[in-house]
């Protein structure tokens, strides 16, 4: 089974935000109750990703070599090829699907929130169900896996009127993206680039950008967090080894000592 | 009136005892460990020493009383040993070849009247 990916051509996006609406409609998300629409000096709405907002268009005012323009970025889970969130999830609620995206099983989640802290793109959001007991659930874009595994396109891709979104075999999406980047460069967008080909194991979300990633607020060199590796691959096995060694050592001492020393006599 | 040295590492005990003794008119000086107690004794020459057994180590009081017994200046000062240790006296008697028993033994928590009586008794014996 080949890996699937989404191609987001930001040069075609008109920021209609139909994708935001389609996502909420398909996934039964609500208007996030803490983000009553307010004039913040930006067209961005809601103000941030949240448990109720899994994708969002960012409006970035950019001063580039070809003058001032708006950049639009559709943000959401990157479905990394090497997902740190999956590595640190203690319940297995986050898993990597054979088709390449990162799935989330809400019933298994226990609300620990580690995924929110280890994601290199700071995507997952924690939905607090009970502030007193700490009950919570994580929340993020699922690539509409229920649609995709049944031969349909993700809701956002299906609805985009500008045809800025595409979804399919990853290699094909990469090829398409690279061709688009070449076309943009030929038209004078010298900073055009394809983001997501190799980072963090290769992202499931590929972006055709017309400015450097940093201009969009994307990390130029996102990394699988070193601390996730340290934690999962070094500290955890170290702990298991330490416990095992201690228990065996104590057992050994006990068996050896039993024969050698009698209970001290109280004189 | 007589001068009494109270030796104990517990400041609450020292303060309480000082109040009891001062009320009766005694002059009170204090020390909080064995070394300090011996230095104070040599300087001030109290008429009686109220000595806690267990301070920085369990048998410190006994070491102090032994040193007092071996010192010409101090050996005639009466000592009342104060202890929380059960069976402290018996412990001491078992190794009694080396340690000098005190003139009086009193157990914590102390009864103020009991303490004052014993002090009078020890002072009158001098």
């Amino acid at each position: 089974m080949a890996r699937l990916a989404m191609l987001i051509d930001t040069s075609l996006c008109v920021a209609c935000r139909g994708c935001q609406v389609a996502c909420k409609q398909w996934n039964d998300r609500q208007g996030w109750l803490y983000s009553r629409t307010r004039n913040r000096g930006s067209y961005e709405n809601p103000p941030d990703l949240s448990p109720q907002t899994w994708t969002r268009i960012r409006f970035i005012e950019h001063e580039g070599p070809d003058g001032f323009r708006w950049l639009f970025l559709k943000e959401g889970c990157m479905h990394c090829g090497n997902p740190a969130c999956v590595a640190v999830c203690p319940t297995g609620a986050l898993k990597q699907h054979p088709l390449g995206f990162v799935t989330f099983e809400r019933e298994l989640c226990n609300g620990c929130g580690y995924c929110t802290q280890f994601c290199p793109f700071h995507i997952p959001r924690l939905e607090i169900l009970n502030p007193l007991t700490g009950a919570a659930k994580s929340s993020k874009c699922t690539f509409c896996q229920d649609r995709v595994t049944n031969g349909l396109l993700p809701a956002c891709v299906k609805t985009c009127p500008a045809k800025a979104l595409d979804f399919g075999n990853r290699d094909e999406m990469i090829a398409k993206g690279q061709a688009r980047v070449e076309a943009l460069k030929a038209r004078g967008y010298t900073q055009a680039n394809l983001y997501g080909v190799d980072q963090v194991g290769g992202l499931g979300r590929l972006y055709v950008l017309i400015a450097p990633p940093e201009a969009y607020g994307l990390p130029a060199k996102p990394q699988y967090p070193a601390l996730a590796s340290l934690w999962q691959k070094v500290v955890q096995p170290l702990g298991e080894a330490a416990f095992g060694a201690t228990l065996l050592g104590l057992l050994g001492v006990f068996l050896f000592v039993r024969r050698k020393i009698r209970m001290e006599e109280v004189r | 009136m007589a001068k009494i040295l109270v030796v104990d590492d517990d400041p609450d005990f020292v303060n309480l005892t000082r109040r009891i003794l001062q009320q009766k008119g005694y002059e009170v000086i204090t020390a909080s460990n064995g070394q300090q107690a011996l230095a104070v004794m040599r300087k001030e020459k109290p008429d009686l020493v109220l000595l806690d057994i267990m301070m920085s180590y369990v048998l410190e009081g006994l070491d102090v009383s032994r040193e007092m017994a071996e010192d010409a200046e101090l050996k005639n000062i009466p000592v009342i040993m104060v202890t929380v240790l059960t069976g402290a006296r018996t412990q001491v008697e078992k190794i009694s070849g080396e340690y000098v028993t005190a003139d009086e033994w009193i157990n914590k928590p102390i009864d103020p009247d009991d303490l004052l009586n014993r002090i009078e008794k020890a002072l009158s014996k001098k």
Binding site: N110, F118, C119, T133, V266, R267 | Y57, D63
Partner: protein, 242 residues
């Protein structure tokens, strides 16, 4: 106090020395009562083979237990400090390393494994092993607090890059504390030489004989304890063994 021991015809007399106040003993046992649930509920998130327990509402329940126990665990030393500040500070001082600790470390195999009593130099109120336990528990308490509180309240407030370090240190402290706990548990309960220790933590008193043997420096004082040990070593050398 006279007791009749199993297998002895006559009653023997034990003289008791006070060692732990009631608050100290209560604090210790409450510490145990919170440490174990904290370790177990934490381990649910730690060991992959416990994953089924970490999931869903079971997992949320364990997280809640962890937090409730953590609050009590965190408060215990503070309560001790408020009510018995002198003893609190005395205890901290007694845990600090000293010269005789090196001697203790060198004598461990001979004493704990082979039972050679004369191999062990006189120890104070706490021997080096007990000091190690005390220091590990104190230091890990601090680390658990400094990492655990932000892990609880700081999501979204402190930078994720900082949070990641907190988790790692929380885990490292857990490994140290749990290993120390296992060793401590073994020595207190199972090792034949240490019977007095558990009695002292349950009842607050220690037998004078036990103290004279195991904590000679605390019992006789540094000078006399050394004299007794030298004499004993000479005796053992003459007899050619224990």
């Amino acid at each position: 106090m006279s007791v009749q021991l199993k297998g002895r015809a006559e009653a023997i007399t034990i003289q008791w020395i006070p060692k732990y106040t009631t608050l100290e003993r209560l604090g210790h046992w409450l510490h145990v009562a919170t440490f174990i649930p904290l370790a177990l509920t934490g381990m649910v998130l730690y060991f992959p083979f416990l994953q089924p327990l970490a999931q869903g509402s079971a997992g949320m329940t364990f997280r809640l237990i962890h937090r409730v126990a953590a609050v009590i665990f965190g408060l215990l030393p503070i309560i001790y400090f408020i009510f018995q500040p002198r003893r609190f500070l005395m205890h901290i001082r007694e845990f600090l390393p000293a010269k005789e600790d090196i001697g203790w470390l060198k004598a461990v195999p001979a004493y704990y494994l082979l039972g050679k009593h004369e191999a062990m130099p006189p120890q104070g109120r706490f021997n080096a092993g007990e000091k190690l336990n005390g220091l590990v528990m104190i230091i890990t308490w601090v680390i658990f607090g400094l990492t655990g509180v932000p892990m609880w309240f700081g999501k979204g407030v402190i930078p994720p890059e900082v949070f990641r370090w907190l988790v790692v240190f929380h885990d490292l402290a857990m490994i140290a504390a749990v290993c120390m706990f296992l060793i401590h548990l073994y020595l207190a309960v199972a090792h034949p030489l240490m019977w007095g220790a558990l009695v002292s933590m349950r009842f607050g008193v220690i037998s004078a004989e036990y103290a004279a043997e195991h904590h000679a420096k605390w019992y006789y004082g540094p000078k006399r304890a050394m004299e007794i040990w030298e004499a004993r070593k000479r005796e053992a050398a003459q007899k050619g063994g224990h």
